[in-house]
C-alpha cells in the first residue's frame, strides 16, 4: 500500500529526439486501482517500466509514499510487475519462477510452498508447476507471469496487459481474482488493459493516454459518460461512440439537431439547453451505439427520446446483440439491436435515439462542450492538440 506520484515524467529512448512520454502527471492514492488505457504505442508500458525503475527517466519525478524514488533501484521500490512480454525465467520451472521473488525476500520455505500452491491454484496452473516455460501455451505462460507477481505482497502492483492471452471465461475469473486481491490487500495497483470491461469494472480511476500525453483521468463513469474530448469518447466503449456532424437548431421546444436518412427524411434529436452558445453552429454529436436501439415502449414518454427510420448498411451479430450500421447525415452510424429483431440490408429500420447521455464536441478543438455549471469535475488535462 502506497501512494504513487508521477510528476511531469518524460521519456526519450536513446539519442532519438522524439519524446515518448511528454510530461505525465498522475497521482494515485493509497490503495487505488488505476487503469491505464491508450492506443497501441502510446507509452503505457514505458510509463509502467519507469514506475518500476526499469527505464531511465529523462525528466520529471516519481514519488512513492512521498519519497522521491526517481533514482532508486527497482528492487528497493518494492513493486511487483507483470510484463506484457511475460519475461519468464527460462531455466526455471513454473514453480521456481513463482517462488524466485519470495526466496529473494527470504520468506521461510514452508510459507513459500504454501504461497506457490495458493497462487497456482488460483491461476489454475497447479498441474504445470514442474514444467519449463517453453513447454507452456501462451495463456499458461501469461498466467505464470501473473503468478510471479501475485505471490508477492508489494507496495504497488503493476500489471501490463496481464490477461490478454486468456480465454474470455478465464479472463473473467482472473479479473474477479484481481478485484478480490485488491479488496483484500488494498494494494495500490496500476493496470494496463485493452479490454473495455476490465477497465470499466476494475478501475477506481481510468487514465486515458495518447501519444505520450494524458488526456483524461477520472472514474470509469466519468470517462465513459463525460469524456474530455472526442479521442477519449471514441476510444472508450466498444463499439465506438458515433460522432455525427450536425447543426444546432432551435424551435419552440428548445434546441435540437437533425439526422437525415438516405431518403433525406429528417429525425429531430433534442439537444440540451447549454448548447445555446452553439446555436446555428456545426458541432459533433456523440451518441453511443447502445443509445440507438429498436424502439422500447417504456422509454417512449421520455422527452429526450426520439425515433426515426434509417437504412441498414451492415449487420454484425455479436451474440447478445447485433451491431447494425445505418446511414445518417451521410455517415455510418452503429447501433445496438436485439438479435431477435428482423433485419435486412438495404431496408429501413426504425430506431430509437436516447439522447439522455448524448455528448457534444466542439468541431475545431474536439473538446467536449460542458454544461456551464456542470457538477461533473472537469477533466484533469485538456489537450489542445
Amino acid at each position: 500500500m502506497a501512494t504513487l506520484n508521477i510528476k511531469q515524467i518524460r521519456k526519450r529512448y536513446g539519442k532519438s529526439t522524439q519524446e515518448i512520454l511528454k510530461g505525465i502527471d498522475i497521482s494515485i492514492d493509497n490503495g487505488e486501482f488505476l487503469i491505464l488505457v491508450g492506443p497501441s504505442g502510446c507509452g503505457k508500458s514505458t510509463l509502467m517500466n519507469m514506475i518500476a525503475g526499469l527505464e531511465e527517466v529523462s525528466g520529471g519525478q516519481i514519488l512513492i509514499d512521498n519519497q522521491d524514488v526517481t533514482h532508486v533501484a527497482p528492487k528497493d521500490r518494492d513493486i511487483a510487475m507483470v510484463f506484457q512480454s511475460y519475461a519468464l525465467y527460462p531455466n526455471m520451472t513454473v514453480r521456481q519462477n513463482i517462488q524466485f521473488g519470495l526466496e529473494i525476500r527470504k520468506m521461510p520455505a514452508a510459507e513459500i510452498e504454501a504461497e506457490v500452491e495458493r497462487v497456482a491454484n488460483l491461476l489454475q496452473i497447479d498441474h504445470l508447476l514442474d514444467r519449463k516455460p517453453s513447454q507452456l501455451s501462451g495463456g499458461q505462460q501469461q498466467r505464470v507471469a501473473m503468478g510471479r507477481a501475485l505471490s508477492r505482497r508489494p507496495k504497488i502492483y503493476l500489471f501490463d496487459e496481464p490477461l490478454s492471452n486468456l480465454d474470455a471465461k478465464l479472463r473473467v475469473e482472473m479479473r474477479t481474482e484481481v478485484k478480490k486481491l485488491h479488496q483484500r490487500l488494498g494494494t495500490t495497483i496500476v493496470y494496463v488493459t485493452h479490454d473495455q470491461i476490465e477497465a470499466m469494472t476494475l478501475a477506481d480511476r481510468i487514465a486515458v493516454m495518447k501519444d505520450g500525453e494524458l488526456l483524461q483521468l477520472g472514474t470509469p463513469k466519468q470517462v465513459y459518460e463525460t469524456p474530455a474530448n472526442m479521442f477519449v469518447a471514441g476510444f472508450i466503449g466498444s463499439p465506438s461512440m458515433n460522432f455525427i456532424d450536425c447543426l444546432i437548431k432551435k424551435d419552440e421546444n428548445g434546441l435540437f439537431t437533425e439526422l437525415a436518412n438516405s431518403q433525406q427524411q429528417i429525425t429531430r434529436l433534442p439537444a440540451p439547453d447549454y448548447m445555446i452558445d452553439y446555436l446555428g453552429k456545426s458541432v459533433v454529436l456523440g451518441l453511443r451505439p447502445e443509445q440507438i436501439t429498436t424502439p422500447q415502449p417504456h422509454k417512449q414518454t421520455d422527452k429526450q427520446v426520439t425515433r426515426g427510420q434509417f437504412e441498414v448498411l451492415v449487420t454484425e451479430p455479436t451474440g447478445p446483440d447485433v451491431i447494425v450500421e445505418v446511414q445518417a447525415n451521410d455517415q455510418e452510424i452503429s447501433c445496438r439491436i436485439d438479435p431477435e429483431h428482423p433485419l435486412e440490408i438495404g431496408q429501413p429500420i426504425e430506431l430509437m435515439f436516447d439522447c439522455n447521455k448524448a455528448v457534444y464536441f466542439d468541431k475545431s478543438t474536439e473538446q467536449r462542450i460542458c454544461p456551464q455549471n456542470s457538477t461533473l469535475p472537469a477533466p484533469t488535462k485538456a489537450s489542445a492538440a
Partner: protein
C-alpha cells in the same frame, strides 16, 4: 492469507542505510569491472606504453632506455624479412579467418541438424585444439612433406600425378600454414557457432519456414544475422590467433624455406629475444598493433554501435 505477513508490511528502511545500499548497488557493476580495468590499464596499456618506449630506444640484449628516435622503425622498414612477414600475415590472416569462419559455420550448421553421435563428432572437430602444436607440427610436417606424407602416400597408391609440395615451395609455404591453422582452429569456431545456434529462438525459425524460406535461406537470412555477436567473437578470436601465430610457424616451417613463411610474431620474438634486438622487436610489435588498430577499430566501432540499436 495472513495479513500479518512480513511482506505485507511496507518495509521502511532507515534513510541512511538505504542510501548507502543504493550507493553500493549503483557502484557494483563498476566495482566488479574494476579489477579487469586495473589489469587492462596496467598489464596491457602500461606494458604497451613500455613497449612503445622500448621501440624508440636502442635496446638490444635487454631493455635500455637510451632513446634513438625512429631509428628502429627505419631499420624495420628496411628489413626484407619484415616486409615478407607482414605480407605473409595479410595473406595468412585473411585466408585463415575466412576459411575458419566458413568451415566453422558450415560444420556447426550440419551438427545442428539433430545428429546422432553429435558429441563424438564435435569432439573430433575440436580435438586439434587440444594437441599442442609442439608435436602436431611434426606430424603435419610429415604429412605435408612431399617425400613422406600425402603426396608420397597417394603416389604409392597409384595416383602418380598427384603433387603437393607447398611445404617446400617458398612461394606456397605460407598456405601450408593456413591449412594447419585452419585444421587447428576451425573446430573452436564450430563450437562457438554451435553455442550461438543453440541460443536461437526456434519460433523465429518456424516463422521463416512459414514464410517459405528453405533451410539454407533460413540460415543465411535469419539465423546467421542473429549470430552477429558470435561472428564478432569469432573474428576477434581468429584474428588474435592469426596475429599471434607463433607455435604454429615454429613447429611447421620455422618461417622457411628461407624466411618465406615468416610471420610478424615470429619475427618479433626472434629479434627481441633470440637476436638481441629488443628495440627492433618492440618496433615490430608496435607496427603490428598499429595494423590491428587500423583494421580492428572501425570494425569494433560499427559492431558496438550496431548492437546498441538492436
Amino acid at each position: 492469507m495472513s495479513t500479518s505477513h512480513v511482506l505485507s508490511e511496507p518495509v521502511i528502511r532507515p534513510q541512511s542505510k538505504r542510501f548507502s545500499l543504493d550507493g553500493l548497488q549503483k557502484w557494483l557493476p563498476k566495482l566488479v569491472l574494476a579489477p579487469t580495468m586495473l589489469i587492462t590499464i596496467v598489464c596491457i596499456y602500461g606494458y604497451m606504453a613500455w613497449t612503445t618506449l622500448i621501440s624508440f630506444s636502442n635496446s638490444s640484449f635487454l631493455p635500455s632506455y637510451k632513446l634513438v628516435g625512429f631509428k628502429q622503425y627505419i631499420k624495420l622498414l628496411d628489413n626484407d624479412r619484415w616486409l615478407v612477414s607482414s605480407t605473409n600475415l595479410l595473406i595468412f590472416g585473411l585466408l585463415f579467418i575466412a576459411i575458419c569462419l566458413v568451415l566453422g559455420i558450415f560444420l556447426a550448421i550440419l551438427l545442428d541438424q539433430q545428429i546422432q553421435q553429435e558429441g563424438a563428432i564435435r569432439t573430433i572437430f575440436l580435438y586439434p585444439m587440444a594437441i599442442s602444436f609442439i608435436v602436431t607440427g611434426t606430424a603435419w610436417k610429415w604429412i605435408l612433406n612431399p617425400g613422406l606424407g600425402l603426396e608420397k602416400m597417394l603416389n604409392d597408391w597409384g595416383w602418380s600425378s598427384f603433387q603437393f609440395d607447398w611445404l617446400v615451395d617458398p612461394q606456397m609455404s605460407i598456405y601450408t600454414l593456413v591449412i594447419a591453422a585452419v585444421w587447428q582452429s576451425s573446430g573452436f569456431v564450430m563450437a562457438l557457432f554451435l553455442a550461438g545456434l543453440r541460443g536461437i529462438d526456434p519460433a523465429i525459425v518456424k516463422a521463416a519456414q512459414i514464410d517459405g524460406a528453405s533451410k539454407p535461406t533460413i540460415y543465411r537470412r535469419i539465423v546467421l544475422p542473429c549470430l552477429r555477436p558470435v561472428f564478432f567473437s569469432a573474428i576477434i578470436v581468429l584474428s588474435h590467433i592469426a596475429i599471434k601465430s607463433f607455435d604454429l610457424v615454429t613447429a611447421l616451417t620455422s618461417g622457411g624455406p628461407g624466411y618465406s613463411s615468416d610471420l610478424p610474431a615470429l619475427f618479433m620474438y626472434s629479434h627481441a629475444f633470440t637476436r638481441g634486438q629488443m628495440g627492433l622487436g618492440a618496433a615490430s610489435a608496435m607496427m603490428m598493433l598499429a595494423g590491428v588498430l587500423a583494421i580492428l577499430v572501425p570494425y569494433l566501432y560499427s559492431e558496438l554501435r550496431g548492437q546498441r540499436h538492436d
